[in-house]
């Protein structure tokens, strides 16, 4: 390898936060025009590493060399001036402004010496950029009206407009459907051909194996190694990420379904889903799958009282119920693990203990006051039971890795004491090791007679642990599969919308 091949060199990067060595002597070499995957479990230090590169965090040691020249990334502006651009998981767009305005935000286009913004030039340049990416998005359309996938493309265009040499993509396909992912892959490959160097962070092996040239693995803030993509396979990468091999990823489920717990008949919410009917039994893990936007999350939001249905019957343990709020849902026997654990599942600055006890504070009262001892005991119990990696119940939720955060949310569900548990994407953004642990917890719960409804976009996990699977398509249940009937092809076929309808829906979403 020659020195001049490298556009970016980071070596000896160390970052210490109070109590934690977030990064310890981490390095990364990025060749010009390569796609370099950066992977590791949640909490492995990927985000911190990227934040050091983009000047958000200052490293305690280490050097960053761009085109052979050493640079101090004093703040995010310095990084931007040197052509380092990042596209984050959570897009920071201005939904009410146009696509062109979003692209040139902070970099407004002027004509000659005139001080005002030239809208003609703004729109023209935006169109040029989008076309170079092979996209037909109208630069005049409102950002908020685009799908997540399209917004991502706009973000890429924005990065290119700032002459990005190094583009960092953080979980770009996390919120995309299969088709949309494919489109994004094409765009990324295109960029590579035009000479952009890309650092790709992803949990999805599909992303890595279809895009990356090389892959670097981090674990516990340390550098594990870099490999050419041809030298590796997913088993090997998993082994490097977890530090051990996972033989039995999906636990075997032995319990059979018992009596019906939840019966849903003809449930509708206009504009989101229609005529949804199913029954959830005790001891059953029921999958609810389909493409993003098919209406799955909306169904579970109605079941858990976040929104109201327009039509339909919900029967819980033999009694018909009107669920008007999450509080009511809990009282009537359903609890929900929401899709977005950071925004909906947890109070991030609060301790593990306070998070776990929040849904049932009434259980921790002594003489009408809260009892810290009782709360502490509950937290300890769940930390032990679910093997949450934390020093104590007094650690804040935000200090935990994604997988452990999710375990805290599961603890909250368990304190509710409801027999019906609804989980919306329980393993989204969770590392491999924690994923296996969460599956085990779910299977154990089913064994104890809980009924679990799991919304999931990940086909392997639906195939891996569900007894039955409902597939939603465009707001309706398109098919129901029993365990024996489930194959990847069958699930995918049921989920895929008819071509004509698809377009209308995408615009609607």
């Amino acid at each position: 390898m020659h020195q001049e091949d490298l556009i970016l060199q980071m070596a000896g990067i160390t970052k210490i936060f109070p109590g934690i060595r977030a990064l310890d002597d981490v390095r990364l070499d990025l060749r010009r025009g390569e796609i370099h995957a950066l992977i590791g479990e949640n909490g492995a230090g990927k985000s911190t590493f990227i934040k050091v590169l983009t000047g958000i965090h200052q490293p305690d040691a280490g050097i960053i060399r761009l085109n052979g020249q050493e640079i101090v990334m004093a703040d995010p502006l310095v990084a931007r001036r040197h052509g380092i651009a990042a596209i984050y998981q959570h897009l920071a767009a201005y939904p009410d402004l146009s696509v062109a305005e979003n692209i040139f935000m902070g970099n407004e286009q002027t004509q000659g010496r005139l001080p005002g913004i030239s809208w003609k030039k703004t729109n023209q340049e935006a169109e040029k950029l989008l076309q170079a990416l092979g996209s037909d998005i109208d630069p005049a359309s409102e950002m908020g009206s685009l799908s997540v996938a399209q917004q991502q493309i706009v973000e890429i265009a924005k990065a290119l407009s700032q002459n990005a040499q190094v583009l960092i993509m953080d979980e770009p396909t996390a919120a995309l459907s299969l088709r949309e992912s494919e489109e994004l892959y094409n765009i990324v490959r295109n960029l590579k051909q035009q000479g952009t160097s890309i650092i790709l962070i992803s949990h999805r092996f599909e992303d890595i194996f279809s895009l990356a040239d090389r892959v670097t693995v981090l674990r516990d803030g340390r550098y594990i190694g870099t490999w050419d993509i041809d030298e590796t396979d997913s088993d090997m990468l998993v082994k490097h990420m977890v530090g051990r091999s996972i033989d039995q990823f999906y636990p075997t489920k032995t319990t059979l379904a018992g009596e019906p717990l939840l019966k849903v008949e003809g449930l509708s919410r206009t504009g989101f889903f229609e005529d949804v009917s199913f029954t959830l039994h005790a001891g059953e893990i029921l999958g609810l799958t389909g493409l993003v936007g098919a209406g799955r999350t909306e169904v579970v939001e109605v079941l858990s009282g976040v929104t109201r249905p327009d039509k339909g019957k919900i029967t819980v343990l033999g009694e018909q119920r009107h669920i008007t709020s999450p509080h009511e849902a809990m009282k009537q026997g359903l609890s929900l693990l929401p899709e977005d654990r950071q925004k909906q599942g947890l109070l991030l600055p609060w301790t593990i203990q306070s998070n776990i006890t929040l849904p049932r504070l009434d259980l921790h009262k002594r003489h009408r006051l809260l009892s810290p001892q009782s709360e502490g005991r509950a937290a300890e119990e769940y930390i032990r039971m679910l093997a949450i990696k934390a020093r104590s119940g007094g650690d804040t939720a935000e200090s935990l890795s994604g997988g452990n955060q999710q375990k805290v949310v599961i603890s909250k569900l368990l304190t509710c004491g409801t027999r019906i548990i609804i989980m919306d994407e329980p393993t989204k953004g969770v590392d491999v090791g924690s994923k296996a642990a969460i599956y085990q917890i779910m299977v154990d719960l089913a064994g104890e007679g809980y009924g679990i409804l799991m919304v999931s976009s990940e086909m392997p996990e639906v195939l891996g642990i569900c007894d039955r699977a409902l597939v939603m398509r465009e707001g309706r249940i398109a098919a129901v599969f029993t365990r024996g009937e489930m194959t990847p092809e069958a699930l995918l076929k049921a989920a895929m919308p008819l071509e004509k309808a698809r377009k209308g829906r995408a615009e609607h979403a």
């Binding site: 305690d60 050493e70 101090v72 925004k343 109070l347 609060w350």
Partner: protein, 341 residues
């Protein structure tokens, strides 16, 4: 600087200790400058003006701020409630004074409830804007009732004993209204910091969505907190009237800002989820000591307000400044190591 703050033990970094140090500093400076006038008994005397009525309003404001909301209408609520009391008592020829007091408290609570209903029903509007509007509404109603008149001649126990009376505690003359205020504080402390409903208020202020998903009835809590805030505003207006002896529609003007300032100085965050009753008490003591001292030295209300404004800005900036200093020293260190290499 950053080294120093890192080495301090955790309990010393608590905001309350910074307030204690500031209080000691303020008391030391003024009592060495004005040893005859700046004494404990004179300060206690002044708590009637600087501490009690604003204190009640700040307590209500604290709960609203913990929720992540704000209520600009508290001073107007106090004025309207006091107006209702004065007019219904009508200088002795109206309803009995006890009934007038009850009517006043109800008025305050209803004003708060209206704010709460507007805030929960129209979640797309900011509480700041809603209560800014109800502020002018409430004071407007007070004006319609009283016009430019003032109304007073309250019973002696109210305007004399409560307003200016004192009881002897440990040889000091402690104003009765201060005793009333200090008696309410423990109740607020226990409620906010030690009970389930207090915890839920902090939860809703920290993350409304996650709290709702956790089964916290956030709408109901907001209504309750805004209603309580209106009630506390009326209580503040009650004690204010007891020392002024009469009511005009303009009373308590600007008190909402003082209440917010006290709660924020005491550690509450306008973005919700943080605040403490102990901090609020310390902030009140600090303000009382400072205002009293500044009035003694300068005898000028403008200098007083200016100094308080400067102090507030400084104090709110401290946490931001330390973070920025830490970042800058990290950049400097890297540049130095680069030069050496």
């Amino acid at each position: 600087m950053s080294r120093l703050t890192n080495r301090l033990p955790e309990w010393l970094k608590r905001w309350e200790w910074i307030l204690v140090i500031l209080i000691l500093a303020v008391f030391w400076v003024f009592s060495s400058q004005q040893p005859d006038n700046y004494t404990l008994s004179k300060l206690l005397n002044q708590t009637r003006v600087y501490m009690v009525d604003v204190g009640f309003m700040a307590l209500g404001m604290l709960t609203v701020l913990i929720l992540g909301d704000i209520d600009i209408s508290v001073a107007a609520t106090a004025a309207l409630s006091a107006t209702v009391m004065a007019v219904s008592y009508n200088q002795g020829s109206g309803i009995p004074f006890e009934a007038a007091i009850a009517l006043m408290l109800i008025t305050g609570a209803v004003c708060g409830l209206i704010n709460g209903l507007l805030v929960t029903r129209f979640s797309e509007l900011f509480p700041m804007i809603i209560t800014l509007s109800t502020q002018t509404l409430y004071r407007g109603i007070a004006y319609i009732i009283l016009k430019d008149q003032s109304s007073g001649r309250f019973p002696a126990w109210f305007s004399k004993d409560l307003g200016y009376g004192a009881m002897s505690i440990l040889g000091l003359d402690v104003p009765i209204m201060l005793v009333c205020f200090l008696a309410v504080l423990p109740a607020f402390y226990i409620w906010l910091h030690k009970t389930a409903s207090g915890r839920r208020i902090f939860a809703a202020g920290t993350n409304l969505t996650a709290s709702r998903y956790s089964g916290v009835r956030t709408g109901r809590i907001k209504l309750a907190v805004f209603t309580l805030n209106g009630l506390m505003a009326a209580v503040g207006g009650f004690f204010l009237t007891s020392r002024t002896g009469s009511v005009k529609y303009t009373i308590a003007t600007g008190f909402e800002m003082q209440a917010i300032a006290i709660a924020v100085l005491g550690g509450a965050s306008t973005s919700g989820g943080r605040g403490s009753v102990v901090g609020l008490l310390l902030a009140l003591v600090l303000m009382t000591g400072l205002k009293n001292g500044l009035m003694l030295v300068y005898n000028d209300a403008f200098i007083l307000n200016l100094s308080i404004g400067l102090l507030l800005i400084l104090i709110v900036l401290i946490p931001n400044l330390t973070g920025e200093l830490r970042r800058r020293s990290a950049v400097r260190r890297q540049r130095l190591s680069l030069q050496k290499a």
